[in-house]
Symmetry: C2
Subunit: 331 residues, 2 copies
Amino acid sequence: MNIFLDAMGGDNAPYEIVKGAVDAVKEYGVTLTLVGRRSVIEDELSKYDYPKDKIEILPAETVIENSEEPAMAIRRKPDSSLVVALEEMKTRENAVLISAGSTGALLSGGLLKLGRIKGIKRPALAATIPKNDGVFLLIDTGANADCKPEYLEQFAQLGKIYSENVLGKINPSIGLINIGAEAKKGNTLVKAAYELLEAGDFNFLGNVEARDIMETKADVLVCDGFTGNVVLKLTEGTADFIIKGIKKSILSSTKGKIGGMLIKDNLKNFKKQFDYAEYGGAPFLGVKGGIIKAHGSSDAYAIKNAIRQSIKFVENDVLKKISENAKKMEA
Amino acid sequence: MNIFLDAMGGDNAPYEIVKGAVDAVKEYGVTLTLVGRRSVIEDELSKYDYPKDKIEILPAETVIENSEEPAMAIRRKPDSSLVVALEEMKTRENAVLISAGSTGALLSGGLLKLGRIKGIKRPALAATIPKNDGVFLLIDTGANADCKPEYLEQFAQLGKIYSENVLGKINPSIGLINIGAEAKKGNTLVKAAYELLEAGDFNFLGNVEARDIMETKADVLVCDGFTGNVVLKLTEGTADFIIKGIKKSILSSTKGKIGGMLIKDNLKNFKKQFDYAEYGGAPFLGVKGGIIKAHGSSDAYAIKNAIRQSIKFVENDVLKKISENAKKMEA
C-alpha cells in the first residue's frame, strides 16, 4: 500500500509523526513511507521496536514552513518533504499522502503536482466533524472561497463517495447549509445549488440552518469554501470559548471549585468526544491521489488515526470511484 | 418621544410586551405607544398600576404571523399592528418601532413603508453579541444575502454610527469577517471590501477569523448577510449544544451529579452573560425610522431593554447621523 507520511510537517514533527507511524504499522500491519531528512527520521525510528520492513524512508532535505507563500514554496523547494512525496506519488497507483504541515502548500502542491481528476471542476477540502450522534462531513472547508452552483453539486458527490467509503455511511444524506429552511431561501449561489441537489441523484434533505448544524441529520453538509471555513472555525472557537468561560465561572467561587473537581472526568469525557484526533485528517478530494491534511498540532494518536483513514481510502478505491462518478456526470 | 411597540408580535404577546412597556414607563419615565387590539391591550394594562398618560394605544385589528410570506402580508394586511405602526411612523419625526413578531415582515415592511434613507444602498440588520469582554455589533445578519463590496463598506458606516451612539463606544473599531488574517485572503467580495475599509475613514483592524470572533477586539464586525446569519445562528447553536452536552455528561455519574449541583449558580451566571434579553433587539439600520427586532421569545425584561435601546437611538439622533453620513459619502 502506498501511504506516504510527511515526517517534517506539523508542530510536533518529526517525533509524534514517526511515533504515529510506528504505532500504525504495529496495530494495522500496514507498510508506510516516511518522507523527510533521513538522519532525523532514523534517529526517531531508532527509539522504537517495530517490524523494520514496514517503514521505508524517502529522503527529502528541506521542509515548507507555514509562513511561506504556498504556490511559491512548491516551485522553489523541489527538495522539500512535501514536493518529494508528491513527485513520488505521481509514479504510483492509488497513493495517499498525510501531512500535518502547511495547509496551503498541501492543497497547492496536490493541485499543481498531481492535478485534478478528469471531470472534477474544483477539488474540495472536507472535514469530519463530531455532532450529537456520530459525525458529519463538511465540504468545502476552504479550498474554494468563490464557488458556482455546479461546484457545490460536485462537492456533494465527492462528499457522498467519501462518506460512503471511508466513514461507512449507507446512502449518505446531503444537507445544504443555508440561512433558512425553505427551498427559496439564501443567496443566489445556494438557491441555484438547491435546485441542482434536488434534481440530482442524492438523498437530499434540503437546507440546514446554521443553528442546527451540530445536531444535523445529514451525513454530508455542502457549502462554498468561505462559508465552510467560517463554520469550521466558528464551531471550534465557540466551543473553546464556552468551555473556557464555564471553567472561569466555576473557579470564581469555593463551592464552584469543589463542584468543578467532581465534574472533571465528565468534562474530560465530553471534550474527548470532540477531539479532532479521533477522526483523522481532512481529505482534499478531487485530485489524482489521496491527500489527507492532519491537524497542525497532531500527536501520534491523531497520526495513527489518519493512517487508519488512509487505509480505508485506499482499500475502498475512493479515487477510482470519484473518477468513475465524474465520468458518469460528464457523459 | 415616538416609541411604538407592536403589542401583538412575538411568542409572548401581548402579556410580556405590555408588561415590558409598563416596566419601562415606570423606570425610564418615557412615553410609549402600544399598537394592536385595543380591548386586548386595555385588558393587559388594567393589571398594572402605572402613570396612565405615559402609554397610548394605537388600534390595529390583525397581526402578521411568522408563517406568512412577508411582502405579501404587508400588502394584504393594512390593518395589522405592524402596518398600522409603520404608517403612523411616516407622519412622525425620529420614531422607533419595536417588534418581536415576524423578522421578514418587519424588514419588508420597514423597507416598503418607510423607505431607505437617501444615499443608503442596502439597509442592514445588526445584532449586539456578547463576547469575552463586553459586546460587539455584527452587521449584516441576514437582510442582504447577496452583497457587493460597497454594501459592506456602508454596513461598516452604519455599524460605526450605531455602536458610537447606542452602545457608547468611542471611535469604534471595525473588523472584517474573513477566512484568514492576511489582507489578500478570502473570496472576491471580502478582498474588495477589505480595500474599501482600509481606504475609508475607519478605525479598521483588518480581517477577523471566525475562530476569534467571540474574543474579537473589534467593536463592529462586518460581513454579508448570508455569512452574518450563519455566524449568528451557529454561535447560538454551538453554545446550546455544548452546554446541553456538558449537562448530559455531568448527569451520567453520581459524582458528576453532586458536582453539578455545586456549580449550578456558576453556570447560571455564565449563561446570563450571554442572554439576548440583556442587550435589547436587533436594529434594522438605513431605513427612514428606527426599527428594532426583538427576539421572538422576548419576555418583559427583554422588551424593557429594547425600549431603553430605543430611547438612546432617539436621544442620540441616530437617524439624522446616518442620513448626514450617507450625504457626505455621496458628495
